[in-house]
Amino acid sequence: MLTYIIRRILISIPTIVFVSIVVFGLQLLLPGDPALALAGEERDPQLIAELRRIYHLDQPIWRQYLIWVGNVLQGNLGESIRLKMPVGDLVTAKLPVTMQLASMAILIATCVGIPMGIVSAVKKETILDYGANVVALSGISVPSFWLGIMMILLFSVNLGWLPASGFVKPSESLSQNLKTMIMPAFVLSSVTTAIFMRHTRSAMLAVLRSDYVRTARAKGLREPRVIFRHALRNAIIPVVTLGAIQLGELMSGAVLTEQIFTIPGFGKLIVDAVFNRDYAVVQGVVLCTATGFIFLNLCADLIYFLVNPRMRG
């Protein structure tokens, strides 16, 4: 058990190193010179040279990388050129917003997608199954920006139940916070809900045909116990693993949703940073997201390990 965890963590390290190189390299692909952007209209050559020196833009790329990594390892993600704020502070300010959004979305997806998958597998080829499949297909195929706009139209403009945009910190007012977040979380969850439903359905269908479910029935167990204990316990294993990876997907999916609902999260931060060539912010955000993703993958493996007795040897 312990050796497995240690081995799994060690495997993550080269991945993170690779990610950091890619993240650092990304800025080289972005068009434009940040020193020029900073120097403003006048383009004073002396100022430009000074700016290049301050931000190490005059150094060879590998040295720029090492300086950056060195700083990152000390917890210094650099400073936003535009906002004149440490990137670390920006990240800690915006990350909870996106995490709340993604967590709410995964919660909705779990509470809706998994029961829907179970029902459609148990009631295979009935109206319930077809209905659930239509919902899932819509969840995957309806673009989130469209769904978002339609929901704003319905719930904000026509019914006036929910605010169309904006964000209230949970520390200020939890009910206001939930009011602003529920629509974005729902929009963000739509694809994941559909994926959960489809995976739960196919896993349940396979398990319900299995010999051990027949054994459970041969024991005289009642159907709810057969389904929820004997079948679901096995069918849920791949879905749980998928869930951890989906949470990472949701973090990146939040970019678009945050734009639609103007929520000041990670997504908005990175979009603004890219448009302003605010490299330090882009790097910081992408590095945090990628590391988070790797961490969630690690969690997925560990969860798989915990819920699957065969893995424990």
Binding site: A218, K219, G220, L221, E223, H230, R233, N234
Partner: protein, 326 residues
């Protein structure tokens, strides 16, 4: 017949497939007395497993449906029984073990948990009592160090041990009937013998009846009191085991035994039965075995022969029975 533990009469089970409906079990009748062993023999696809699942009420539906007949167990009609009542019989008065011990136990729960679950379900005993009884059952099916095995997950057990665990589960509430569907087919030969021996011992100890399904006549010879031979969904021969082996009457049974009595028509020895089981979706008219039968005559194409008594307690569904050695 009223004393029979299990009386199956004209049982028919159909499956709906994309190719059409077919009758996996076609008017099958037999009975089984308390404490006896009935062997059901036939090649794969002959309907023997579906017969067993029909009795247990476990035919997957859709696509399978029992379309006719009767199954009386301890005098109670099982066809049309409420789900609740059926569930209280299964695993309690009738237990079943399956061909695949490797996949028949749930990988997510310990062996002890899965056996104890049946006891708690039917006898409402405490957790501690169910554990005590489960360990006792594991000991009875000769699983070494049962206290330790109780907490093992199925993947830690060998195929033979898993089949023993399955037997323990099926026997947990001392059923009157144990249906064993190819219990040894997936096991090594040496383990096969051990499992059969165990079943025989347990039958002697408990007085339960066993319905043993197999394609292996050797297993039948060793275990069964009476034998039902099935072919393409029908019973084609039914006899006490000794009589069946002494003078098999249906050409298919003879073929299964790998030998043919000398007849004036046919001199060759038949090592294997030539040809294929007919497609159940589009059965030919007449006897289902006709195309593969070395004794077939023109009349065999006319109608499917019913079971007729060829000797006391010995029935065969063949126009030419009794086949007399010339």
């Amino acid at each position: 017949m009223s004393a029979s533990l299990l009386a199956v009469g004209a049982l028919s089970t159909e499956f709906k497939t994309d190719q059409g409906r077919f009758r996996a079990v076609d008017e099958v009748s037999f009975s089984l007395e308390k404490g006896r062993t009935l062997g059901i023999v036939g090649e794969s696809g002959c309907g023997k497993s579906v017969t067993a699942l029909s009795i247990m009420g476990l035919v997957p539906s859709p696509p399978g449906y029992i379309v006719g007949g009767s199954i009386r167990f301890e005098g109670e009609e099982l066809i049309g029984l409420t789900t609740e009542r059926y569930q209280s019989l299964r695993g309690n008065r009738m237990g079943m073990i399956f061909q695949e011990p490797m996949t028949s136990l749930n990988p997510a729960f310990t062996v002890g948990d899965q056996i104890g679950e049946a006891i708690i379900r039917h006898e409402q005993v405490s957790q501690a009592e169910s554990k005590r009884r489960t360990i006792e059952l594991l000991r009875r099916v000769r699983i070494p160090s049962p206290e330790k095995r109780y907490d093992d997950y199925p993947h830690k057990l060998s195929g033979g041990m898993r089949q023993r665990a399955m037997i323990a589960m099926a026997l947990s509430c001392s059923p009157d009937l144990l249906i064993a569907d190819e219990p040894t087919t997936a096991l090594d030969v040496t383990i096969q013998a051990q499992i059969l021996e165990l079943l025989a011992e347990l039958r002697a100890e408990t007085g339960m009846a066993i319905m043993l399904i197999t394609h292996d006549l050797g297993v039948i010879a060793e275990m069964a009191d009476e034998v039902v031979v099935m072919y393409a969904g029908r019973v084609i021969e039914r006899a006490p085991a000794a009589a069946l082996f002494a003078s098999p009457q249906h050409p298919y049974t003879i073929g299964l035994m790998g030998s043919i009595p000398r007849l004036d028509l046919e001199q060759d020895r038949l090592a294997a039965i030539e040809g294929q089981v007919p497609n159940l979706v589009s059965l030919p008219k007449g006897c289902r075995f006709r195309a593969r039968c070395p004794f077939a005559v023109a009349a065999c194409a006319e109608s499917d022969p019913p079971l007729i008594e060829v000797a006391a307690g010995h029935e065969a569904a063949c126009l030419r029975a009794p086949l007399e050695v010339a």
